[in-house]
């Protein structure tokens, strides 16, 4: 029990501080924090539909949070989850409307398309880092914008639904839609998210590759000395991270929107950074913090309707959580280790 408390104490302290700062902001702007957070709580968990909506928002946050966490465990800061999620979402939507298959095959095909799309978008910064020493933070920031413009171009041209003015793909076939569990819109993506959490825990604690990946994250030099291919693990980590991000995008498209449209992600790829860091980059921690941020994001909408406090207070809470939880988790340790080869060869920037 004491051990559990010791682990939970720091993330909870980070959360407490974040809510404290948020309360001050709310007070300064002339509202009551207690009634604001009360309305937020009611909006997130106060009823069956509210709880269902919270879980729907938790799904992409959990999967993309795992994507960030996986990168960080390998010492890589994948800020490109948003871009990988866009590419994966578009690939899944394309497979969903362009291909005709029975449901039993169609859903896996769409998900595979999305995962592969995300993997490709994760492979690029991986190989750029492993092969050319390009720091993944810079390349993933750039690839986010490239993905944004590329998907925007495709849904306004080649992949556009010609029957509407909006930049979006045609609706996916019913065979590609992730079935709903309840009337309130909760879909089977929740199961997929759960499987991801299990896979993440298993991969890191029970598999050889997972062990090697963690070893690279703890120290590339020691990992290299023990015979691990550091460039290989960097590429693998980025591919897996991108794949998870692509999966998050696919599940969101197949389960909620049933088509890809511009800005279908309200920034899940960025929220996922706070999710992973608050969750301590562990499977269960990331799942719990995804649930928390799913509740906050969902509750904030209700709060904005019921009070004068804008929903962006959650974004502020996220930023503060990243600072405080990041200090413990990533502060003195090197979250972003130098590129293993890069330095000797003149290095990437930000080496």
């Amino acid at each position: 029990m004491r051990r559990i408390l010791a682990i939970a104490a720091n993330p909870l302290a980070a959360l407490g501080l974040a809510f404290g700062v948020a309360s001050i902001v709310i007070v300064i702007s002339g509202e009551n924090p207690l009634s604001s957070f009360g309305a937020m709580f009611a909006g997130a968990l106060g009823s069956g539909p509210a709880l269902s909506e919270t879980l729907i928002k938790t799904i992409p946050l959990a999967i993309s949070g795992l994507a960030v966490a996986l990168g960080l465990r390998a010492g890589l800061f994948n800020i490109g989850v948003e871009g990988q999620l866009l590419v994966g979402g578009l690939a899944a939507a394309y497979a969903g409307y362009a291909i005709e298959l029975p449901a039993v095959a169609h859903i896996p095909v769409c998900i595979a398309a999305g995962v592969i799309g995300g993997m490709i978008w994760g492979y690029l910064p991986g190989i750029l880092k492993a092969g050319r020493g390009v720091h993944e933070v810079i390349s993933t920031i750039m690839l986010n914008y490239i993905a944004f413009y590329l998907t925007h171009y495709l849904v306004t041209h080649q992949l556009k639904d010609v029957h509407t003015m909006a930049p979006q793909t045609p609706a996916i076939h019913p065979t590609a839609v992730l079935p709903q569990i309840s009337q309130s819109g909760l879909h089977w993506g929740i199961l997929i998210a759960g499987l991801c959490v299990l896979w993440f825990a298993f991969f890191l604690s029970r598999s050889v590759k997972g062990f090697e990946l963690k070893a690279v994250g703890q120290g590339p030099d020691a990992a290299r000395a023990s015979g691990i291919s550091v460039p290989g693990m960097i590429v693998l980590a980025m591919v897996l991270s991108g794949g998870l991000a692509g999966l998050a995008g696919s599940v969101e498209v197949l389960g909620v929107h049933h088509k890809f449209y511009d800005q279908f992600s309200p920034g899940y790829g960025f929220d996922s950074i706070a999710v992973a860091i608050l969750g301590g980059n562990t499977a269960i921690g990331t799942a719990l913090s995804a649930l928390l941020f799913g509740a906050l994001r969902n509750g904030a909408i209700g709060m904005q309707l019921a009070t004068n406090t804008p929903k962006e207070i959650v974004t502020l809470i996220q930023a503060i959580v990243i600072v405080f939880a990041g200090m413990r988790l990533l502060g003195r340790t090197q979250a972003v280790p130098s590129p293993p080869e890069g330095e000797g060869r003149g290095g990437g920037p930000h080496g």
Binding site: V25, S29, F77, I79, L128, R132, V134, H135, V137, I138, S139, I141, M142, L143, Y145, I146, Y149, L150, H152, Y153, T156, H157, F270, I273, A274, I277, N308, P310, E312, I313, V314, T315, L316, Q318, A319, I320, I322, V323, G326, M327, L330, G331, R332, Q334, A335, V336, S338, G346, G347, G348, P349, H350, G351
Partner: protein
Amino acid sequence: MADLELIRSTLRLATPLILAAMGGILSERSGVVNIALEGMMLAGAFFGMLGSYWTGNPWIGVTLGMAAGGLLGLIHAALTQRTKLNHIVSGVALNIFALGLTTYLLRRVFTHAGSSPPVNGLQNWSLGLGRIPVVDQVIGDQNPLFYLAVVIVIGLGFMLFRTPIGLRLRSAGENPEAARSAGIRVGMARYLAVTASGVLGGLAGAYLSLGQLNMFAEGMSGGRGFIALAAVIFGKWNPYGAAGAALFFGFFDALQMRLQGQAILGITIPSEFMLMLPYVLTIIALAGFVGKAVAPAALGKED
């Protein structure tokens, strides 16, 4: 004179990139990674608008925008130097913070989402170069912040490479150990450089809301902070190089706006591809396919 107009709009669009890139150089030359430029610009744009909205005077807006950016810079310096928070983590948090804060305040102050009401913007300055035809048309009548940007580029280039202060700043970024043993206060140098970096980022943002649109829109920095960072990398952490890269990116932005999908020399380049050009080129530059971009040696490291 259509082509002169293209050059004019290149200068207009490059101005915020140049200003923010100079901020990026200051921070990174001192050894602190600054991916928070995006957030600093956004804060500068919002508070710039707010200052002008409150007082009617755009220059007070510019000052407030610079102060807001400077405050974020100071926080970035404190987090990275005092609490030794990872530079990237701090930058990510500040970007999210700036996005949350500006959108929050936009809704709270103006009660409607999306954008602010129009405010008084900066009027162009006329240099009175009427006798020199082409030059007058291109730079004779521009935004005051454009002229300021030119001064800052030259001033920063001089300061970095020709003065003892610049030498100290660069040594903090190249070899903090040696700098410290030579009696340079590395921490202080970084505090000053990163705060100044924020001031410049804020100024760049104020240009967006007071020099271009005369209003603030949600998330209006729109990735320009990262393009400025790209210009820093592309310009190899040199003020003149970065300014050149910013002009280059500004030109493609202007061209993209001009063409709006029209054909050029018989080929149609979609505007999205022109917009992604800075990002693609930066990756290519970093990968060393066109001359390796080399960062200050101690950038982002614990000292």
